[in-house]
Amino acid sequence: MIAIRDLGKRFGRSEVLRSIDLGIRRGRVTAIVGPNAAGKTTLLKMILGLTRPDRGELLFDGVRVNGDPAYRSRIGYMPQSPRFPDHLTGNELIALMTDLRAPTTSTLDRELIDQFGLARELDKPLRTLSGGTRQKVNAVLAFLFDPELLILDEPTAGLDPVASGVLKSKIARSRAAGKTFILTSHIMSELEELADDVAFLLEGRVQFVGALHDLKLHTREFTLERAVASIMTSMEAA
């Protein structure tokens, strides 16, 4: 679904992405993992066109991403713990997004609202909601328009175990229905539960990409966490 070739980006003196080559396959959950400041969020933002690459190319269904916003109607994005406008209520935010996206189908996916038990919270100003509740609203917005591709940046951060479970089963169901996911997380057990493919980012490059069990074979480690740690140690030794 997405092909990335030799993607590079620098911010001032720091070269965030050196050379990224990566393919995202349709109908699969691809996890981008890596230490802090490895460029995970930058990569997600580039796929969305929020950040422009200095070098290389990024193809969405074979078409180069170059400022035409139409392809984004096929994407749902869940940014990392965003700050929403202070005075708006959740329902108003949902109405605004619906108004702006003008979806072709009239049915919105409001399933998560019920499952999170959010209905009453959506009448309150977003500023008065707790961080976890705002993250639930964030998740609702990403799934609302039934997009083909969902880009989730740290989706379960700030969610309690129950809500986190709700979101994870939603991801699993949507994947079974043929949706594609790109997500980042620091919780390895969670990625192990959800991800089909793993792309491991370190120092602006993809150090490993492939199916989760290949990564484990590759490093002869049993869990993802240990596999990642083993790659990082071998990088430092080199």
Partner: protein, 266 residues
């Protein structure tokens, strides 16, 4: 989807959000309080309007540039969310700009117009002056919100951005006139009409002052640049020139800010 529909949707959202802003409410109430006091102590006459001129020339740019800068920083995450939707960046930028300029200038207009009506100041002799005052307040708001957006888009650091905004206000509203006067006194013997005119066009606050005072026709309070303008052009031509220059002062920062917004990495 045409350019206007996206922008209008963003404007509508901004209006409903800012209508609940305590900050904006405080601005409207302060303006109303000052207007009320001026009309109460001076009576509904030209002196009260002159008092308001000073408020407009100092406070409107300050509020527009600081509120504008802070507002765009506060919207940062929300802008990212908007940019992730199938919308064009220039349309979002235009929506954000109008969405702030309209409520802030409306706030000023309501703050002046309502107490003025209360004191019966909308008389035949004062309506022209008050109308010009409000039009100039609107123009200054448009200019300084555009400058604020230009600063906030280009400057990543919030504290630095706000400092630049304050410096811009200081330069245009306070220091500029002093510098012009200093130059005039240094080069007292040289023919200065053209340089002074150029200096006036280069400062939106000066332009606004001239527009107001040409309209109020109070030459004693016009300041040096205003006197030069009036001598050089007479009222109508001066009015056209000043209006054209003010429009440029909206268009240029808005264009620069919009260009940076379109190219920016979020």
């Amino acid at each position: 989807m045409t350019a206007l529909t996206t922008a209008i949707k963003v404007v509508k959202f901004e209006l409903s959000d800012l209508a609940r802003s305590r900050w904006l409410l405080a601005y409207v109430l302060s303006v109303a309080l000052v207007t009320d006091a001026l009309l109460r102590f001076n009576g509904a006459d030209q002196r009260a309007v002159l008092g308001l001129v000073n408020v407009v020339l100092l406070i409107v740019p300050l509020v527009a540039v600081t509120f504008g800068t802070m507002h765009l920083y506060a919207r940062r995450d929300f802008i990212e969310l908007l940019l992730a939707q199938p919308l064009r960046r220039p349309h979002i930028f235009l929506g954000l700009y109008l969405g702030l300029t309209i409520p802030v200038s409306l706030g000023m207009i309501v703050g002046v117009a309502v107490p003025a009506a209360w004191h019966g100041a909308w008389t035949a002799s004062l309506t022209g002056a008050l109308g010009t005052l409000l039009a100039v307040a609107l123009a200054l708001t448009a200019v300084f919100v555009a400058l604020a957006f230009c600063i906030a888009v280009r400057c990543e650091d919030k504290v630095r951005g706000l400092a630049i905004a304050m410096a811009v206000w200081m330069a245009f509203a306070v220091l500029y006139d002093g510098a012009v006067l200093l130059l005039v006194s240094i080069f007292a013997d040289a023919p200065l009409e053209r340089p002074i005119l150029a200096a006036m066009l280069a400062n939106p606050v000066d332009l606004a002052r001239v527009l107001l005072l040409l309209q109020l026709d109070i030459s004693a309070l016009m300041g040096y640049t205003g006197a030069v303008l009036k001598n050089a052009f007479g009222s109508v031509q001066g009015l056209i020139l000043a209006t054209a220059a003010l429009s440029l002062w909206v268009a240029v920062p808005l264009w620069l800010g919009g260009r940076s917004f379109v190219r920016k990495d979020f």
